[in-house]
């Protein structure tokens, strides 16, 4: 049950020659893949390409009609390894994942793929998670292209440009026998736009044809001596072939301007932001017209020496807009120009920051510095940020930070509430974190977790602490990370090394952080995947003796299990599977069913929590064990009290965490649960009336007595 369904939108993938396609970047990419005649597609979800995986998944029927195999891969490495079939056969294929983290995982397969080279075009669509909205370390995927000699396409971020780039990427890959990266920046994945479609193309060779006619070529296997020859091939044959293709098809673009003495070179993905920045500076218009010629690197690697030389000829200085570090392109341009004796100056990181995202404001400041030095007529208009700086200063202290957190009713919340209570009782532990929603535990209100070493590496991140100690190190892993590699890298590793460590595996039935994709341990039935393989069974299978599955919302049991696991020594690694379904997914599934049942007259009970504002202390101890979006505050209605009171808003899903926490943390008597009965039975109504009569009578009597006193 994924976060967003594309079932309706994927019908656009059937559009034919000449029809206009309107939609998001991820859908456009999928359409471009089908127009390119791919035989297989695979990948691993992760922002910003999670939804690309969801689109592909929802499009399985259409893919099937064309004979395209789609695989929801176990990891980025599995996805990249899929492309192995393109080494021997003219099969086109695409894989996708988040980068740089996914590329890190995939790089073993990618390096092998790039060494032997490909016959069928291979396009690796990487969602470059860099800049605002990113959730990972800030690095460049560029380095992967350089080290493995793969080509890196970084298209201008508009829908036709992206579609065009996909089609060229396959042709470039085949022309140079090299897998090609197509880099999609964060916002490009969800850019809405239009393009004129072509017909979908079934693959030229089907997978079946290839399987039934096996071919092999030992020269393509990465083993000496072939591996030494591969390196030579890359430089001798594949690079020049790529350069030739890129030049003849004019994949990089030059937008001419009136000036001939200065110009700008920019990565394709940054073109739109650059142009608007120049427009604001009065040296370009909003339609691509520009005073300064602009050379757009839709291919960021390799750099085409001759194009650089041509563009820089007769120019005294060129502004290079290259985001991120190290400054690979700047170094390359300087080398190219110095080798040919050009004295054109490349002004890049000299006026622009070495590190960090190139927002329009950052570009503006760099462009102004460049223009002030090299354009005698230029005078910068007032900086809009200066106009508003006084306002910003004035409000800065009043804008609360808004860190992300666990969703309403999240089943992971009680796990961290249990851990926090445990730490209050026993003191703090070293906690090795992982990647997933559970990493929000690092932020308020839970404030726990020391490190995160990568997806599925939570347990491995604590493996050095495999030594005698009064205080064991704990580690956390999500079900997504567990199946991605944690079962071997973490659990198997701990068994083999005779560790006593405790790993808490948070099993919420889905890869929840990436949008609720299915996993091996998902509880739901799936037509196209095999699910329902319990995590506990898997860990027992690799030799874990102490393994328990506990429902997360049962804080009492959870604490007891944690305590038992911590105190047990000499039993080998312990795995506590904290199990409850992701609430977002559960609600998505159950809400319509509930509404339907109520509609059809079935007796249904809805739970909702509440706080009595009269007895709430305004201390917010409950918040510090929750952080649930639906448990919030409001101004105290009591004119004598100043502290805001806790308050449960309408979004409460009645998960039960509030009540459990109130009990276990001995909080306060203000929490209550309301059980709303829809379509009550005869017995319900009879009992309700009876109780109302008795209670109502007592209440009225008490009211009268109080009124007498008042």
């Amino acid at each position: 049950m994924v976060e967003r369904s594309f079932k309706k939108e994927v019908q656009k993938l059937r559009l034919g020659e000449g029809q206009e396609f309107a939609g998001e970047g991820i859908l456009a990419i999928t359409k471009a893949l089908l127009q390119s005649g791919v035989a297989y597609v695979g990948g691993y979800q992760g922002a910003p390409i999670s939804h690309l995986m969801d689109v592909l998944s929802d499009a399985e029927e259409i893919l099937g009609e064309l004979g395209v195999h789609f695989e929801s891969s176990a990891s980025e490495a599995s996805a990249a390894a899929m492309a192995a079939v393109s080494v021997n056969y003219p099969l086109r294929g695409a894989v996708t994942f988040k980068s740089t983290v996914g590329t890190n995982v995939a790089s073993d397969a990618l390096a092998n793929l790039a060494s032997g080279g490909v016959k069928g075009g291979v396009v690796i669509i990487i969602g470059e998670d860099y800049g605002e909205g990113s959730s990972i370390m800030q690095e460049r995927s560029h380095a992967f292209a350089m080290k493995s000699q793969m080509w890196l396409i970084d298209p201008r971020p508009n829908v036709p440009g992206i579609v065009n780039a996909v089609e060229h990427a396959f042709a470039l890959s085949e022309a140079s026998n090299t897998p090609v990266f197509l880099q999609m920046r964060l916002r490009a994945c969800h850019v809405h736009g239009r393009f004129i479609a072509k017909d979908n193309r079934p693959p030229e060779m089907s997978l079946r044809e290839a399987m039934e006619n096996p071919q092999r070529d030992t020269d393509r296997v990465v083993l000496p001596p072939a591996s030494f020859e591969h390196e030579q091939e890359k430089i001798r044959d594949r690079w020049p072939a790529a350069v030739e293709y890129i030049r003849t098809h004019k994949i990089n673009e030059v937008f001419d301007g009136e000036r001939s003495d200065i110009g700008i070179i920019v990565q394709g993905g940054l073109y739109n932001t650059l142009l608007r920045t120049l427009e604001r500076l009065g040296v370009a218009d909003a339609f691509g017209g520009t005073q300064l010629p602009i050379y757009v690197l839709n291919v960021a690697y390799p750099i085409i020496d001759d194009e650089i030389k041509d563009f820089c000829a007769n120019k005294s200085a060129v502004l290079l807009v290259e985001e991120g570090q190290p400054d690979y392109i700047e170094q390359a341009l300087n080398t190219i120009l110095r080798h040919c004796g050009s004295d054109t100056r490349i002004i890049g990181k000299g006026v622009l920051p070495m590190a960090g995202e190139y927002t329009s404001q950052v570009m503006r400041s760099g462009a102004v510095k460049f223009l002030e030095q090299y354009d005698e007529k230029f005078s910068a208009p007032q900086d809009p940020m200066q106009v508003v700086s006084q306002f910003i200063e004035e409000i800065n202290p009043h804008v609360p930070p808004r860190p992300p957190g666990l969703c309403t009713g999240c089943p992971e919340r009680p796990v961290f509430a249990s851990l926090k209570l445990l730490q209050e009782e026993l003191g703090d532990f070293h906690i090795s974190g992982d990647i997933g929603c559970h990493l929000f535990s690092v932020l308020p209100p839970f404030n726990m977790g020391n490190t995160t070493m990568g997806y599925g590496l939570g347990a491995a991140g604590a493996s050095a602490f495999n030594t005698e100690s009064s205080r064991p190190a704990l580690s956390i892993m999500g079900d997504g990370g567990f199946w991605h590699n944690g079962l071997t890298s973490g659990i198997g590793n701990a068994v083999f090394n005779k560790s006593d460590a405790l790993t808490i595996v948070i099993d919420n039935n889905y890869a929840a952080a990436t949008g609720g994709q299915d996993l091996l341990s998902s509880k739901g039935e799936s037509e196209s995947r095999s699910t329902q393989h319990p995590i506990e069974r898997a860990v027992r299978g690799v030799g874990v003796k102490w393994a328990k599955t506990v429902r997360t919302y049962d804080i009492d049991k959870m604490r007891k299990a944690l305590k038992e696991a911590i105190s047990k020594k000499g039993t080998g690694p312990k795995v506590l599977v904290a199990q409850s379904e992701c609430m977002l997914n559960k609600q998505r599934r159950e809400k319509p069913l509930f509404a339907n049942a109520v509609q059809n007259g079935k007796r249904m009970i809805a739970d909702r929590f509440g706080v009595d504002e009269d007895t709430c202390t305004g201390d917010h101890a409950c918040m510090r064990l929750s952080g649930c979006p639906s448990l919030t505050v409001k101004p105290n209605p009591d004119p004598l009290k100043r502290q805001p009171v806790s308050y449960v808003d309408n979004s409460c899903v009645g998960c039960g965490n509030c009540g459990e926490v109130a009990h276990e943390a001995v909080l306060c008597p203000s929490f209550y649960k309301a059980q709303i009965i829809f379509n009550p039975s005869g017995l319900d109504n009879f009992l309700w009336d009876l109780r109302q009569k008795v209670i109502g009578w007592l209440q009225r009597r008490a009211d009268r007595q109080r009124l007498k006193r008042a």
Partner: protein, 500 residues
């Protein structure tokens, strides 16, 4: 290069998770495309979902003009400061964030914001009042923008049974920043085909709301209203014995004491307030008396088991819960309470000698502990559950004999003595003592933490030279609310001691 400064209309939408920023964005694209415009939108998926804030960017340009110019506009993927025609914030603090990001420019930007708050976790988890006051944000928003439209759109959404995005769309349509007719917006809602009726109602509420003057902020303390003869007598006494600036608060306090215990208790409350008002010569508006009137009422009406049982069994509470969960008339709604009294809370309500005996005896405590290990759920809407709480509330008449009552009165006496002594020569110091008793409240850990920090700080300040006491109290009070574990408070207490 074209000479004109023609450029696309640029829109930034700042939303918090779950507010439907994506829905609003799609509607705007539909409105534009349906009206002969080229449009682009971008966003970052997944961030907003998890309650962070996120920025949606929409740009649009007339297709006909693009054809006349001969080229399509190059849309930006992210709003450019100084260039944003319309900023939409689904929550008041996000308006501040829009200003911080430079999206709001005078003479250019129409700013539409909902005045309601979605509190961030940092505001919620504070030990006291952690809410960031947004009044300055609203003030700056008005002067930083070309036009500022701000009203409670969450309330409008709730009223109309729709979602905030439809109310925002209505406000956008009314604001005039986009060159489209009302019908074009409504058509976008219709063509999306989901919850059309409710969304159109929300839209209409937003359209209307945008044209109205913002509602005035309500007065701080509402007037206290005595219900019966005893209350009226108290009001008369207050009118004749207390100065005007404190009368309303004192009446609130006296009525609270009356409700909590009896007329004698309310009279005792007023005696004490009067005692302070007589010596309160430090400020014309009787700040000290007001603060004591407020805090004394809360300390005298501390929440014990009897009070909690009383409040939880009242008919008005049941009605409020039914209203909160939107129960239909006659629909059964059960209420289940979560109680986990500790030994201390049990002893608080016992007769003082018995409580003292238990608290001295390890044996008795051990005997009782199995019954206190787990929390209890009580169904107040069942006869048994109700009777249990009802019986507890009836213990009110025995309250004066309970263990906590005696201790509480001692603490109040000590506190008032400190206030009175301080008021002789340092009004600010007296005020700070009066104020800081506020942290003594609640149950369990909250109560104990507050009490021990209160004691530690009044003792620490009392040991300082006279001139330093008031400022030390202010510092310590802030430190006491800094963190639950008391790290900051501990450091501040130590520092206070060393200074001395």
């Amino acid at each position: 290069m074209a000479d004109s400064r023609e450029r696309p209309l640029s829109i930034a939408i700042l939303a918090v998770g779950g507010q439907g920023g994506g829905v609003l964005t799609n509607w705007l694209v539909d409105v534009a495309e349906g009206s002969g415009y080229l449009a682009q939108s971008t966003f970052v998926a997944g961030v907003a979902q998890r309650t962070g804030s996120t920025v949606y960017c929409v740009e649009m340009f007339p297709k006909k003009r693009a054809e006349a110019i001969g080229r399509d506009p190059v849309f930006t993927p992210y709003p450019v400061p100084g260039d944003v025609d319309l900023v939409v914030a689904g929550e008041l603090a996000e308006t501040g964030r829009a200003i911080q990001k430079g999206f709001v420019t005078p003479n250019i930007t129409t700013l539409i914001a909902s005045s309601h708050r979605i509190y961030s976790v940092l505001e919620k988890e504070a030990l006291g009042d952690g809410i960031f006051d947004q009044e300055p944000v609203a003030r700056v928003a008005a002067k930083a923008s070309k036009k500022f439209i701000c009203f409670d759109m969450a309330a409008a959404a709730e009223r109309t049974g729709s979602v905030i995005s439809s109310v925002l769309l209505g406000a956008i349509a009314a604001a005039g920043a986009l060159p489209f007719e009302r019908k074009a917006f409504e058509d976008a809602i219709r063509s999306s085909g989901r919850e059309v009726e409710a969304n159109l109602e929300g839209f209409a509420a937003g359209f209307e709301g945008a044209g109205q003057e913002p509602a005035p902020v309500q007065a701080e303390v509402p007037a206290a209203q005595p219900a019966g003869d005893n209350g009226k007598a108290l009001a008369e006494r207050i009118a004749s014995e207390l100065p005007a600036p404190v009368r309303n608060l004192a009446l609130h306090g006296a009525l609270r004491a009356l409700d909590y215990q009896d007329p004698k208790y309310a009279a005792a409350y007023l005696d004490r307030v009067k005692e302070i008002s007589v010596i309160d010569t430090g400020s014309p508006d009787y700040q000290l008396t007001s603060e004591v009137a407020r805090q004394l009422a809360l300390q005298m009406c501390y929440e014990d088991t009897i009070r909690v049982a009383d409040l939880k069994t009242r008919g008005e509470r049941f009605s409020k819960i039914r209203k909160d969960v939107a129960a239909a008339p006659g629909q059964p709604v059960h209420v289940i309470e979560y109680f986990h009294p500790r030994l201390e809370e049990i002893c608080d309500t016992l007769p003082a000698p018995i409580a003292a005996l238990i608290l001295r005896s390890d044996f008795l405590q051990k005997m009782m502990s199995p019954f206190l290990r787990k929390g209890r759920n009580v169904k107040t809407t069942s006869i048994g559950g109700f009777l249990l709480l009802h019986a507890f509330s009836k213990l009110r008449r025995f309250r004066r004999g309970t263990y906590r009552f005696k201790r509480q009165q001692e603490m109040i006496h000590d506190w008032l003595d400190r206030v009175i002594n301080a008021a002789v020569d340092d009004y600010e110091y007296a005020l700070s003592i009066a104020h800081c008793i506020e942290m003594v409240r609640g149950y369990g850990d909250t109560y104990e933490r507050g009490l021990s920090r209160y004691r530690a700080m009044v003792d620490a300040a009392a040991g300082l030279p006279a001139a330093e006491r008031a400022s030390a109290m202010r510092r310590l009070h802030k430190a006491a609310l800094a963190d639950e574990k008391g790290r900051v408070f501990g450091e501040t207490i130590t520092a206070t001691g060393t200074v001395h």
